[in-house]
Symmetry: C2
Subunit: 258 residues, 2 copies
Amino acid sequence: MASERKATADPARSLAILWRTREPTSRSAGPGLSVDRIVRAAIDVADAEGLDALTMRRVGEALGVGTMSVYTYVPGKAELVAVMIDTAYGEMPRPALEGDWRARLERIARDNLALYQRHPWMLRAETTRPVLGPHLLAKYDHELGAVAGLGLTDVEMDAVLTLVLGHVKSSARAASEVVDLERETGMTEGQWWQSHAPWLETFLTPGAYPTASRVGTAAGQQHGAAYGPEYAFEFGLQRVLDGISVVVAERATASQPG
Amino acid sequence: MASERKATADPARSLAILWRTREPTSRSAGPGLSVDRIVRAAIDVADAEGLDALTMRRVGEALGVGTMSVYTYVPGKAELVAVMIDTAYGEMPRPALEGDWRARLERIARDNLALYQRHPWMLRAETTRPVLGPHLLAKYDHELGAVAGLGLTDVEMDAVLTLVLGHVKSSARAASEVVDLERETGMTEGQWWQSHAPWLETFLTPGAYPTASRVGTAAGQQHGAAYGPEYAFEFGLQRVLDGISVVVAERATASQPG
DNA sequence: GGCGGGCGACGTACGCCGTACGCCCACGTT
DNA sequence: AACGTGGGCGTACGGCGTACGTCGCCCGCC
């Protein structure tokens, strides 16, 4: 028999919270806490002040409630974050997918980017585990619709989605880092660079790494103009879609025997 | 005049540490601490026990030294992590790049993946800022060599690299999450899934999300076979390279006027 | 109308973390 | 031989997540 382990993770409990298997008790008095209210408050805090500011004490405070009261509805912070994530997925639009597969995937990429822009804390939330909430499933199902009927295998469909969403997340993370550095230091990207460049040149032996210097400067100037991350997103997205088109074309000809 | 801000970040100090602008004092007695020894100990801890186990106390302990002694050489934990990252970059191989651009980029992708596999903590280290150490620069310069001479603009070269490395990081993160979940829960991916699936089916109304269920199951079985992340990496890498080849081909014809 | 049980809310406390601050003492210098 | 400098460190503070035990209110029952 395996030893007990920490086993903080009780699947039944965690999933029950994600799926809200719980009639709202009508104990009408008191603050009337609930998973929903807690999650909404937590998301508000994280949106406004970042993930570092999201503490259990802060959540209780935001609800006008003691810190430990939150634990009545949520087993711990990890589970709270999980529900926050699933809730955020639930807010996403799921319009009927129009156009060809490329337009559909592009739309999905942009919707996901918008999600991360609205909730940058999602980019830093350590999940270590798929969330398995209702909204994640709905999102997954919806997004699979964009790559259905192209002759891809199930595993390929999943891989295509993973690739596109991975690119979105990478880009969003880069963009988000720029934003919260500016908030933390009170300097713009350009100002930060200008405060570091002279020191860097001091250490760098002149003439070393010419390529890196030239390209870095070029890219850095784009960043200074504050559209670096956006460019990386657009450029990468088109490349990724181009790459996917190769497989799609392969499958299309393969499935149409002459 | 802008108010002072927190300004924990002193560029001169941080960069000086990264570039080791400091003769090793010959105060031969005592433990003989140094930035190098501290960084090496810290990396050992993080490699062996993960980033969560990397505490300043733990680092001191590993060196047989008081916690606060570490602060003599490093202003804080953030800076320590920055030097750790730059040091890890320094360990990477930088072989002469052979073959066509595609082979070169592929090689770079695999080298970076190996780096992340050796030092998974790099995937979780919050930097919020490029490290600007000597080894990052060397790495950047080396990797730019893979996309030089293709007719791309400087900004495009940077974007190509960003795209490829972003994909590597995404894939590595996914793989790493699988690994440390298994460590945390003591279950394999398959076992974890099997302990959750029955509960999930309880909540899910039968017949809902047929596509998601089917594809998820297919992909999940791959994960159970423990090669899901590897597949995602390979599949995505080829797609990304295919996509890049489109731009490369464009530039090649454009730069060869008839 | 009275009452008892259950549960939501919470106060306190513990063991962690990063790190500010100031002391001490061994050394290289004079 | 005396000195002062700086490396090493002990203590302490504020903040975190959260285990645990208690209290008082509301609801269903008699």
